[in-house]
């Protein structure tokens, strides 16, 4: 997903206005719906990640009952999740693109801006601060009121107090302009469908009109949580590749007290001796062969910059430019970055330079990508005409482009690892469907994992038929356990359902049928940031189709059985109609006086 402008260059409000449509804040109706969604999804994500059975309580209250829509509402979402460390609260909710979910595992949140967009929207329309209450320990509760300084791009803390509590979790209240009379049905649908796809969650919703919607959990079983995994080569573009390469060389950036203690240990230095630069230099020289490579790197920087440990903690290395022999670092105290020219003849510079050439291509591939071993890496380098020993930091732009192209073209990579996905599972899905729709027939299927451009995905699908279901085919779409409510007709699932030849399965347009489709992926190919419809990717379309065909076959065999049962009933009725007639006719034919005791015969019919 690319945004109009990166956050650093524009103010948050500008950012908001430029992206509001994409992010689902185009009008008061849509905005209040999107806000509910973003907050509920954050709560569910937080609970999932900590394997907590979610209790979520959503309220929407108007500030003035009398006024007509659109008007101001206070939206509150309260959860029993892990909460957020109070130091992070201003950052998490006062900064766009602050997110903890960039890792490659499946979560509802993706972009790190959902909550902030809602907060920004609220502030822009009502000029009221967001209230965030968080407890991470179940005893102290931090209560914040935060405004975003739109000019300076900084959170302004209006209020911060600590009270005591017995409950862990986060509660966030946003005052915003909304049109509940128009958005209400979508919000209710959203809550309803969310509890369907999250059967282990309890979700309560109190709407502005005083209506209460309670969805108790159906099961206490939380599906297994996804593992965080390395990327697959197929999903990688040049930009990502560049970032991964630079990431590999920044392992030295976090020099904290723990790290320093370790280094001192390796140097076998005691007390404050290390503050003496000369002594330290000698000790390092002496102990050099015995040091770990990480320690060697940190000490090389220390010596090149002529710093002691105390000074080292206060800076962060930003980059080392081997070509220009420069090192750029950020000084926390001075809040400024500095560029230093390095002495190329120094032993320690040479070490650093060598280190900063980075891993060999082969090592890089095996270490940074999932499911790439020595053997595959070798084959790949041969395929792409690279030396396996090629240092990645020394790659030219052109070479990087070639590398990323070749990664996409090489056909021998194993398919992506799906362990990072969190499908609901057939059992839970079926339970949810049975509970929600009370159908005569339900069948679910989870397809095996597949991948599109390097992103693994799993399709789960269920169909329910008859019972309390009203006539007409109804589709419920989910992606990463999020209900998708808007733009149904442009969604890939819709397309698949439309393409299938329902006649073959004896299904008509007016059949009482519900189809539930759930796509799980580390990267759902949404058409927009609003996360409302999934774009067609051949691989996804194929899996959806296979799932649907499988279920349709199940359904049609159920229907023909049902047809048989109806026939059976009709059959028995026929006996009741005809047997008395036969009895009557044969009585006269045989010149008997009374009819035979033919009723016995019905015992033979089950």
């Amino acid at each position: 997903m690319t945004f109009n402008e990166s956050f650093n260059q524009i103010s948050p409000s500008e950012f908001f206005y430029r992206n509001r449509d994409l992010a689902g804040f185009s009008n008061p109706t849509r905005s209040i719906y999107t806000s509910v969604r973003e907050l509920v999804e954050n709560s569910l994500d937080a609970c999932d990640q900590n394997r907590i059975l979610p209790n979520i309580y959503v309220t929407i209250q108007p500030t003035q009952q009398q006024k007509s829509d659109p008007k101001h509402y206070i939206l509150t979402v309260d959860d029993n999740g892990p909460g957020i460390d109070h130091n992070h609260i201003p950052l998490a909710f006062g900064t766009v693109l602050y997110g903890s979910k960039f890792g490659l595992n499946q979560a509802r949140g993706m972009f790190g801006l959902g909550a902030t967009m809602a907060i920004l929207y609220g502030q822009i329309t009502t000029n009221k601060p967001v209230r965030v209450n968080s407890s991470i320990d179940g005893s102290n509760r931090h209560e914040y009121e935060i405004l975003l300084d739109i000019q300076k791009n900084k959170p302004i803390i209006i209020k911060h107090s600590i009270t005591s509590t017995k409950k862990k979790g986060l509660s966030i209240s946003i005052c915003l302009e909304g049109d509940y009379s128009k958005a209400g049905s979508k919000i209710r649908d959203y809550i309803y469908q969310t509890s369907l796809i999250t059967p282990y969650a309890s979700i309560k919703f109190h709407d502005p009109k005083g209506n209460k919607y309670n969805y108790e959990r159906i099961t206490k079983f939380i599906p297994s949580s996804p593992t965080i995994i390395k990327p697959h080569p197929y999903g990688i573009d040049v930009e990502t590749l560049r970032r991964m390469i630079s990431d590999t060389s920044y392992k030295i950036s976090n020099v904290d007290n723990l790290m320093i203690a370790r280094i001192k240990n390796e140097l076998k230095m005691r007390g404050d001796v290390h503050n003496n630069y000369v002594v330290m230099k000698q000790t390092i020289k002496k102990r050099w062969p015995y040091l770990s490579s990480q320690t060697k790197t940190i000490l090389s920087i220390l010596l090149c910059l002529k710093l002691n440990f105390n000074q080292l903690v206060k800076i962060k290395i930003e980059s080392i430019d081997i070509a220009r022999n420069t090192l750029t670092y950020w000084n926390y105290e001075k809040s400024k970055s500095f560029v230093t020219q390095l002495n190329i003849s120094s032993f320690y510079y040479k070490h650093l330079a060598n280190e900063f050439k980075g891993d060999t291509l082969e090592t890089f591939l095996t270490k940074q990508f999932q499911r790439v071993g020595r053997h595959t890496a070798e084959k790949f380098t041969e395929f792409a005409h690279f030396r396996p020993g090629k240092r990645i930091m020394l790659m030219t732009n052109q070479e990087l482009v070639h590398l990323s192209d070749s990664l996409q073209k090489f056909s021998e990579f194993l398919s992506p690892d799906p362990s990072c996905l969190a499908p609901l599972g057939e059992n839970l899905l079926e339970k949810g469907i049975a509970k929600f729709f009370n159908p005569d027939f339900v069948s679910v299927v989870q397809r095996k994992a597949s991948a599109y451009s390097g992103f693994p995905f799993i399709v789960e699908m269920g169909v329910a038929y008859g019972g309390s279901i009203v006539n007409g085919i109804k589709l419920y779409r989910f992606a990463n356990r999020i209900p998708l409510l808007y733009d149904e007709s442009s969604d890939v699932v819709f397309k698949v359902i439309n393409d299938i030849d329902w006649n073959r399965y004896k299904i008509k347009n007016e059949s009482p049928l519900v189809i539930i489709s759930h796509i799980c992926s580390t990267r759902i190919p949404y058409k927009t940031v609003g996360k409302e419809n999934v774009a067609d990717r051949n691989e996804i379309e194929r899996e959806l189709k296979l799932a649907l065909q499988f279920l349709s076959r199940k359904l049609s065999s159920y229907m023909s059985k049902k047809g048989k049962a109806a026939m059976e009933k009709k059959r028995v009725n026929l006996y009741f109609t005809y047997m008395p007639l036969i009895a009557r006719f044969c009585t006269e034919l045989s010149e008997k006086l009374k009819e035979p005791n033919y009723k016995k015969i019905f015992n033979e019919l089950k």
Partner: protein
């Protein structure tokens, strides 16, 4: 014992027997069922000894337990029940009557073909023609000649009629079919395909000139007519000769009287194996210089069909068929009128009758 009474008693007994079987099954909690001889083409075979088509040994089960057969089973039992009443009350009914009567007993036939079919089923089960069950088709043919019959139908019991009393002849209907054949002076039965010629024959006193009973088959002879022919032959020992148009259909009309049709393979007593086809033969067309009309496609196709029939593999049946196929022309009985209206009775008939003696 008189023919009809005898017949009715046998049939009543048979119906009673079937009724009792069904009754006992029901009383014992068993789904009643019976075998119906199969009338599928595979089960229709030509019996050389009987000289007619008969049903083979294949039979299908009609089981009241089978939901697909329950309805037709009930219809069949109803028909037996209804026919039994007809026999007991000495009433007759037509195929169409049956179709409508069923409705009074909440047995509804979808259409008349369905009820007709059940009638054939019952015929097959009992091996008795529907006429015995007092069920008659609407089509009627006629008879004329010196033959005394005695009615058995209610109201006419014992009443006698001479079939030469009415110059238009007598309809071969239920009452005639069930009448006793008392006496005749005739030596011969002439069956003729066409009503027009039948009238001419009466006018020309063919009955007297040739000491014959004349029967108008009105095209393909209805069962009641074939049945009467059979009785005239069997009971009164009269030889039967047949006059038809000179075409393949005429030839087959004669054949059906002689040895039955595949449609009635489940029935005996409808054939007159000794009957002789007098003409008009294909070879007569040449011989008598008859005016002809060309055959149609369907005529020719029909010839090819009949050539496969085992009965057409020998004798005049085969030779005439071959001639028809060769000349591809046909002549009607009326064609003789070219040589005068009485030409057929004065010239053709005596010649052919003479010839028939050697057939």
């Amino acid at each position: 014992m008189k023919y009809k009474e005898n017949k009715n008693r046998i049939l009543s007994d048979l119906l009673k027997k079937y009724g009792a079987r069904i009754y006992n099954d029901l009383d014992n909690g068993i789904f009643p069922k019976f075998l119906i001889p199969s009338r599928s083409t595979r089960n229709i075979i030509y019996d050389k000894k009987l000289r007619q088509y008969v049903l083979g040994n294949n039979a299908s089960m009609r089981n009241s337990k089978n939901i697909l057969q329950l309805r037709s089973f009930t219809q069949l039992v109803w028909l037996a029940f209804f026919a039994n009443r007809l026999i007991k009350e000495q009433k007759s009914s037509t195929l169409r009557d049956i179709y409508y009567s069923s409705q009074a007993f909440s047995i509804d036939f979808e259409d008349q073909p369905e009820s007709d079919n059940i009638i054939v089923d019952l015929e097959s089960v009992l091996s008795r023609p529907r006429e015995d069950l007092h069920i008659f088709p609407e089509e009627r043919s006629s008879v004329f000649g010196d033959l005394v019959i005695e009615y058995t139908v209610p109201g006419y019991e014992g009443k006698r009629t001479n079939l030469s009393d009415h110059p238009d002849g007598y309809l071969i209907g239920p009452s005639l079919s069930s009448a006793e054949l008392i006496e005749t002076s005739a030596d011969l039965v002439i069956a003729i395909e066409k009503g027009g010629l039948f009238t001419r024959f009466i006018e020309e006193k063919v009955d007297k000139k040739f000491k014959s009973i004349i029967i108008d088959t009105a095209g393909q002879a209805p069962r009641s007519t074939r049945y009467l022919l059979r009785r005239l032959h069997d009971e009164l020992k009269l030889p039967v000769v047949i006059l038809t148009d000179g075409d393949v259909y005429g030839e087959h009309i004669a054949m059906v009287i002689k040895s039955g049709s595949a449609n009635a393979a489940h029935l005996r007593e409808l054939t007159v194996p000794d009957a002789k086809w007098l003409g008009v033969w294909a070879s007569d067309i040449e011989k008598y210089k008859l005016p002809t009309i060309p055959m149609t496609e369907s005529d020719i196709k029909r010839i090819h069909d009949l050539k496969k029939d085992p009965r057409y593999q020998h004798g005049i049946w085969k030779t005439e068929l071959d001639v028809f196929l060769k000349i591809k022309r046909k002549a009607e009985l009326e064609a003789f009128s070219k040589y005068g209206l009485t030409n057929i009775t004065d010239k053709y008939l005596p010649q052919k009758l003479e010839l028939a003696k050697s057939l």
